[in-house]
Amino acid sequence: MSLDELIPVIKKELFQVLEQTITNKQDVVKLEAVSTTLNWYKEAAEQNMDFSNLSNKIANTIIDNVVEPMVEPLLEDIQLKIENDRAEVRFNTSPFKSELRPYVEFVKKINNADVAKIKIKFQINSDLQIRDIQVKHVEKNTTINFGNLEGFIGISIININTPLADYEDSISLGSKGFSFPLPSVNL
């Protein structure tokens, strides 16, 4: 397992944090863009699409785009420290703050042609740190216990673009602190 393989684990955990944050903000369901999107899914005969399924899709799309730029600096920090310390070592990464602006676009297509779009632009603020990483070098084997990923994620909508109008209002969806364990691996 390389450090990059930590990313799917982190994605899975952060997805839950993000999805809960979006779903708990019931004001979002009242947005015209959201009701129109749900109506589009209804027209597309996806009858089981409700707000919770939609927020699941939104969270998935955001996570796919933000996790790597959010955690890569942490993984690079780990890599650097492992290479420099050839004995048993215990450390934290430096905290890494980021501000990313992912967007999620719902495109209504008829016969492969785009006929209408709704674009929701988000802002994700994060402050992440991997704490309590333990590295053991025994002969040629290196074992790493990645400790915990800790921090918070704040999410807000900063722009909504629908066929009818462009809304610039910022809507805070909330922020959430978290801490979850990462796996131990042998390199």
Partner: protein
């Protein structure tokens, strides 16, 4: 007897091959057109005449296979100049509405609605002719030859009056029918029936429903 059977078999194989080719062509060629042909942009009839300064109400609906389509941008255009009068968006019932304050001109207007999309969607409504008259009390410039029945002229679809067969072709067919073996005729009928059933089945299965694609990225 054997030669007769062989002839029938030979003809049957030809018919089956021909039918298969026809199935293939019918089924594969027009899937996309089928989808578009089910997209209906309907602009409700407009008054043939209206006074300048009054509000001309455009309304209609966008449907696909009879189901309303929301969030589509519909543009009302003047067919003579090609200029858009204004855009509007279909609501959750697929309905669109647009009001325009009329401006007098000598010539009648010819209005139609068109879908404004990034893809090539060939959806366009019928065209309606509207004469905007000057307000009462003002002098009018005589309009050149007014077109009376707007709908029938603007939407003139040439109707073909060519019908079926002439007496000559009928008699030829009669002769041919006598030549065809009744069993072969039955086989052709069954094959054509099967082809028609399959085409209907395919066209029902073919879904022209919209598809919602989700895209993401970083700005």
């Amino acid at each position: 007897m054997m030669i007769g059977v062989f002839k029938i078999l030979k003809k049957s194989v030809s018919v089956i091959t021909l039918s298969s080719v026809i199935f293939f062509l019918v089924i594969t060629s027009n899937d996309e057109q089928k989808a578009w042909s089910q997209l209906v942009l309907d602009l409700r009839p407009l008054p043939s005449s209206i006074e300048e300064g009054q509000v001309l109400e455009f309304s209609g609906s966008v449907t696909l296979e009879g189901q309303p389509l929301s969030g589509l941008t519909v543009v009302i255009k003047d067919a003579i100049t090609g200029q858009p009068i204004g855009p509007t968006v279909s609501d959750s019932n697929g309905e669109f509405h647009f009001n325009w304050i009329t401006i007098y001109q000598n010539e009648p207007y010819e209005f139609f609605a068109e879908l404004s999309t990034s893809g090539a969607v060939p959806a366009r409504s019928e065209t309606y002719e509207v004469t905007v008259t000057p307000p009462v009390g003002e002098e009018t410039t005589p309009a050149p030859e007014s077109r009376t029945d707007s709908d029938s002229e603007v939407n003139s679809n040439p109707t073909s009056e060519e019908t079926g067969t002439t007496p000559e072709t009928s008699s030829e067919f009669q002769g041919e029918a006598n030549y065809i073996n009744p069993d072969l005729f039955l086989l052709i009928t069954v094959l054509v029936g099967a082809a028609a059933a399959y085409v209907i089945y395919k066209s029902r299965r073919h879904t022209a429903r919209p598809v919602i694609e989700i895209r993401g990225g970083l700005d």
